[in-house]
Symmetry: C2
């Protein structure tokens, strides 16, 4: 079990691309859950797959339990249990100022959206702000991938314009 | 991924006890799910723990995905995510006629209930009926452990009298 403390931002420019060290395609789906259930996510990331349980968000912290599973299991669970609640993206790892940022470029129903995240040791931890970073959306639940699987970016009214 | 075909029975007597080869104490809890979600179960069985996802029941078959996880994770998930939806039982393995029966003796809110189950290769597979076997309840969803976690046996009206 880990406690996950993440801060999430939109992007101000495409300048992060020159610093990207790797790119992994991800397809992930969500079970339909009754609040206050945890989120259950099935993710295929490149050649690997994971089943992840995440507790409710408290401020910007949440408990997280993640297990690697066979890709064939993940494919079956995406098909059987996740309905249309699926998010497709490419995750780039972008080192900056001693942190590794995860920049996600979304596709499908979330095309046009980019986000950048870092994991921190504490809710008060400080970090250097990269020049390509846009406004913070950590507290805006619409940007959680679970929410994006149900109400994707392209269906939003007045979605903020991105880089 | 496995497809699970199980038949479940009540017990007619305590005669199965003399044939029991092992006993494992189990504590298992369930996430609160919105139909038609799969069932998500966290189980501690003796010194091991498992996270299990089971699809909807079709006749007596359902898909099942099970992963061993750290016991500490299971304890945390039972506490954080399963509320009161917890079933306690001891599972005995009882060989009979070439099959190994799982006889469950329930405790807590399900005390007084005993069930016996076998897993079969197909929905039409045959098996020898042990003398201690009672009426079949495979199709009675009240006896699924998920249902017993929400509506335990001791709260039933007119619960069938057991051995």
């Amino acid at each position: 079990m880990a406690v996950e403390i993440e801060r999430k931002f939109l992007l101000a420019s495409e300048a992060w691309r020159s610093g990207a060290e790797s790119a992994v395609r991800m397809v992930q789906g969500y079970f339909e859950l009754l609040p206050p259930s945890p989120t259950v996510r099935v993710r295929i990331a490149g050649e690997k797959a994971f089943l992840t349980v995440k507790g409710p968000v408290r401020n910007i912290s949440r408990s997280e339990f993640e297990y690697e599973i066979p890709v064939a299991d993940a494919e079956a669970m995406l098909r059987e249990f996740c309905g249309g609640r699926v998010v497709e993206k490419v995750r780039y790892l972008v080192p900056y100022g001693g942190f590794v940022w995860e920049v996600d470029e979304y596709f499908g129903e979330n095309e046009g959206l980019f986000t950048a995240e870092i994991e921190l040791d504490g809710e008060e931890a400080s970090f250097s702000v990269p020049p390509w970073l846009g406004p913070e959306v950590s507290a805006d639940r619409r940007y959680s991938n679970g929410a994006l699987s149900r109400n994707p970016y392209r269906r939003w009214n007045n979605a903020p314009k991105q880089a």
